[in-house]
């Protein structure tokens, strides 16, 4: 046998419960908001770490400086050879003239350097080849390939800006934050479940007379249980909305301060949350609703067994 309970009446009983126990509801919402904020801190740290790693990875390349007298044929040969290696993402060549223009532009406000340059009859700079690898781990292999005797004799100098240590450090910090964040999130999840459990127990206690009469006059267990579970779900949804608002506020005010840590580049926090808004809300909403539903189910169940 199954009792079909009109949804409207269950909702009306749930609304009455909320208004009667507003303060307990407020405390519950506060703890749920803290739990959700801790989860979002974890998500934010992940986004910031991955953004930092991407920025650092972008900065890694190999610059090969050729001797000034190197013929274009050798430069073309070097570029073709390096570009043919599958691990290479991009090879760009800056001719001696382009290098001189760039150098002059870079030092346009430094007359001493420009005067010294003018003293020279010929362009002292050679062509530069910049090589970008697909993966940061491929650079040692590419450096070896630059020893090709077909063009290695023309190379004056090579620089390899190795940011791998910085990347490792960022990843280590992010791992630690993730680890402690996960513990914090678990603690808050347990707190949330316990707080909701107790809030529902208190709600039952304040309405024990009414619930007792409900059972006496033939209310089904579902009718006793559903309004209280709906209350918990309402608290969860309200908490989700408040947490989302707070996260948006924190990002709007906080992100500009992070730009300086990212060498003037976009830390990508806002764009990460905007791009993943729906999955984040669905995942966190589902998780918090499942937690509160189970804990309120258990709280009412314990009472109904009496």
């Amino acid at each position: 046998m199954f009792i079909i309970t009109p949804v409207g009446r269950v909702i009306s009983f749930a609304v009455k419960n909320i208004t009667r126990n507003a303060w307990i509801g407020l405390a519950t919402v506060l703890v749920l908001v803290l739990a959700l904020l801790s989860v979002n801190v974890l998500v934010g740290v992940n986004a910031l770490a991955s953004s930092a790693v991407t920025i650092l990875e972008k900065k890694i390349d190999v610059s090969v400086y050729f001797k000034p007298e190197t013929p274009n044929a050798i430069l073309d040969q070097a570029r073709s050879y390096m570009a043919s290696i599958p691990q290479v993402e991009r090879v760009t060549i800056m001719t001696a003239e382009e290098a001189l223009t760039a150098f002059t532009e870079r030092h346009k406000n430094e007359p001493t350097i420009l005067d010294a340059l003018n003293e020279l009859e010929e362009n002292p700079l050679g062509a530069t080849m910049v090589i970008k690898a697909r993966k940061t781990t491929d650079y040692p292999f590419l450096m070896e390939n630059l020893n090709n005797p077909q063009f290695s004799f023309a190379i004056e100098n090579k620089t390899y800006d190795d940011h791998s240590i910085a990347i490792q450090q960022v990843e280590q910090i992010a791992d630690s934050v993730r680890y402690f964040g996960l513990i914090l999130t678990l603690i808050f999840a347990i707190f949330s479940a316990l707080i909701v459990y107790n809030a529902i127990r208190v709600a039952i206690y304040t309405q024990r007379e009414e619930i007792g009469i409900m059972r006496l006059v033939g209310a089904s267990n579902a009718f006793v249980r559903l309004p209280l579970i709906l209350d918990a779900i309402f608290f969860a949804i309200l908490s989700l909305a408040i947490a989302a608002g707070l996260v948006a506020l924190i990002i709007s005010f906080g992100e500009p301060y992070l730009v300086s840590f990212y060498d003037g580049e976009d830390p990508g926090l806002k764009s990460y949350f905007v791009d993943n808004l729906l999955p984040l809300i669905i995942a966190q909403g589902m998780a918090i609703i499942i937690i509160v539903s189970l804990s309120s189910w258990a709280a009412v169940g314990r009472y109904l067994k009496k």
Partner: protein
Amino acid sequence: MIDLQNISKIYGSDVHGLRDINLSIEPGEFVCIVGTSGAGKTTLAKLLIAEERPTRGKISIGGWDITRIKKRDIPYLRRQIGVVFQDFKLLKQKTVWENVAFALEVSGETNRRIRETVPHVLKVVGLEQKAHRFPHQISGGEQQRVVIARALVHRPKILLADEPTGNLDTINTADVIQVLKKINDFGSTVVLVTHNREVVNELRSRVITLADGRIISDKKHGKYLIQS
């Protein structure tokens, strides 16, 4: 209608609430169950509404074996047995009308059925003029009549009243008993658990006397036998 076979209820290991009770109540009967405190009257009432389960024996109500009734079926049983208690169990913040309607609301009845049923049962108990008063604005007897009205909304075949006059004065007691008789006249079976000698002797209905968890007397037109 109500059939108890070899019912015993033992609390803990050796506290006997009821001992080997055999009892049959026919449809339309008015039965008084009497006895001193601790005789087993309330235990019997609790077994009938499945608030407790017997240790041994079998209970059937309208052919339905409720001895090992499932929890999910208890609400259906309670809609078939109207229950009236000594302590009223009315919701103070609700009016008479709302208290009666509450039993239908929580059972998932439609608003239309509620609007039809509530005035009808309030008329049966004579409270149609006080429908919008709150419990504290009416007398004890009237409060008990509200409880009876609430018990009647599901049109139960059985009305179980456990000490309904325990908190009432003589005049209010008479009012409540009149209402119970009226309900019995409509065809419902009434089981009245009481230790009120005057009520029992005036009713001159079937009287089952309990002592120490046993039936010591079952008379068709009995009197209150116990010495207070």
